[in-house]
Amino acid sequence: MEALARELPAEHTDKGEGVGEITHLSPVVVSNAVRVSGLSKSFGDGAVDVFRDVSFSVPEGQAVALIGANGAGKSTLLRCCLRLVEPDCGEITINGQNISRQSGRALRNSRARVGFVFQKHNLAPRLSVLSNVCHGGLAQGRGLRAWSHRVAGKVEREHALHCLDQVGLSDLAARRADHLSGGQSQRVAIARALMQQPDVLFADEPVASLDPQAGEDIMELFRHLNRDRNLTFVFVSHQLEHALAYSDRILGLKDKGLVLDASSSTHCVSSLRGLYG
């Protein structure tokens, strides 16, 4: 655990300097897609701290895995980044927009270019796969035209079909979303996120409920999107193999704080087990 703690950055800057070994990995100066500073969250009016004073930055196009034991606050931290859960204090900047104090339309606009894939796909039941993908257009304020594929315009339909094609499910466009397998549902959720044309993609344990092969397929899809589209990708995972294989960098949460921030190439499964002790 001490070895992990030594890798903690001395400070965090917009350029990602001093963030463990990331500086060596990315000598080219790139701007940060996500910047979190001094973030704290507790439940029960401060009675139970989830995490305290968490800070990190994610440069554009980087894939980052967030790991930690159950209850370490990974999912809460990810949700706090989009203010789906309100943090107690701290600053969150996404795509250059400080969303910490935003509300209403400004917050919606900031969220619009951030995809979020949940562990449970969270598709609208009863609606078709294509309608669910069209819902991604709600982020662009398309309103009624994004409610269902039946009322969507030609452009929206074609864009939705293109997103479905990217996840390999264009042949299931007409099927009801609640008639899909877990892996198919997760792909549709990813297609819905792609419909947003996101710059950043968050994923909260996206393959936790899938069988190993389906999980690998989904993670490969994320890797493809991250590399080919330069999509910034932050994901929570309990599977250390996935965290190592599909990320450039690993953040570890333990004891209510960020105790690891290191390149995934410098770690192996056994060296990360300390986070779960």
Binding site: L82, L84, L107, R108, N109, S110, R111, A112, V114, G115, F116, F118, K120, H121, N122, L123, A124, P125, R126, L127, S128, S131, H135, G136, L138, A139, G141, G143, A146, W147, S148, R176, A189, R192, A193, Q196
Partner: protein, 271 residues
């Protein structure tokens, strides 16, 4: 030792009621017996009334067909009142339910006001509403339809709100995360999940409205109920029998339709 502890963990087969529970039960039993008196239950009256029941039943046979056409028109009006009352009531109930659902209401004060209003509509009996509307807009089906609208709102808005509260919050959270507006979240994230329950409740509301609309006619709010009241007052039990038969067919038809529609909607393709 192990056996002792495992048997101690088992629930007791029969537990003597506590004095409070026994007292509450005794109180309930006493009130029930008193209620039997209050309800005018009389075995002797029932026995002496049996021959009258037989006479009336005989006079009902065969059901009269001399006023079949006007009766059929009244049944049709009854169904039209029920249909319009239910559809308009359901349409008004949906937005009210959004305001009255804890997870969707824009403000807690709005939640309290709308819930209170809906409870008021529901707790006032439909006959009282019918008398109010007959006095306000006059005799006829319009008063009945207004009554059914109010009755449907009181019934549906509450259940729709509860359906929306019980729906899986995941889809709504996903849409909020992508920056969707509140209206979009309700339409695309909440309603699809609540739709089977909403359709189910609406169909029950239609069945309820058909039965209510028969009774409303008795106080002048239009429909077949008025015909039934006149027949009974004129001692034309054969006509009354025909009306009861028609009501039976109508209610059965509506129940059959709603049963089939319920199955179709719930297992069907995207709505």
């Amino acid at each position: 030792m192990a056996e002792k502890s495992s048997s101690a963990a088992l629930p007791i087969r029969f537990e003597a009621p506590s004095p409070v529970r026994a007292g509450a039960f005794a109180l309930f039993l006493g009130f029930f017996l008193w209620s039997l008196v209050g309800a005018g239950i009389s075995i002797s009256d029932l026995i002496s009334g049996l021959p009258n029941m037989g006479v009336i039943a005989l006079e009902m046979m065969p059901p009269a067909t001399d006023r079949f056409s006007p009766m059929l028109m009244s049944v049709l009006v009854t169904f039209q009142m029920a249909l319009v009352g239910t559809v308009v009531g359901v349409l008004i109930s949906v937005p009210l339910a959004v305001l009255a659902a804890r997870n969707l209401t824009p403000h807690p004060a709005i939640y309290v006001v709308v819930r209170g209003g809906v409870s008021f509509l529901r707790t006032v009996p439909d006959l009282a509403w019918a008398l109010f509307f007959v006095a306000s807009v006059g005799l006829g089906p319009f008063a009945g339809t207004l009554t059914l609208i109010v009755d449907t709102i009181g019934f549906c808005a509450r259940f729709f709100a509860e359906n929306m509260e019980e729906v899986d919050p995941g889809p709504a959270e996903a849409l909020s995360a992508m920056g969707a507006r509140r209206l979009d979240v309700v339409v695309c994230g909440v309603l699809p999940g609540a739709l089977p329950a909403i359709i189910n409740t609406s169909l029950f509301a239609l069945e309820k409205a058909v039965r209510s609309s028969v009774v409303l006619g008795l106080v002048g709010a239009g429909g077949i109920g008025a015909e039934l009241a006149v027949s009974m007052e004129m001692f034309r039990y054969d006509q009354a029998a025909m009306i009861v038969l028609m009501i039976f067919v109508l209610v059965l038809g509506v129940e059959r339709f709603s049963s089939v529609a319920r199955g179709r909607f719930i297992s069907g393709d995207e709505g």
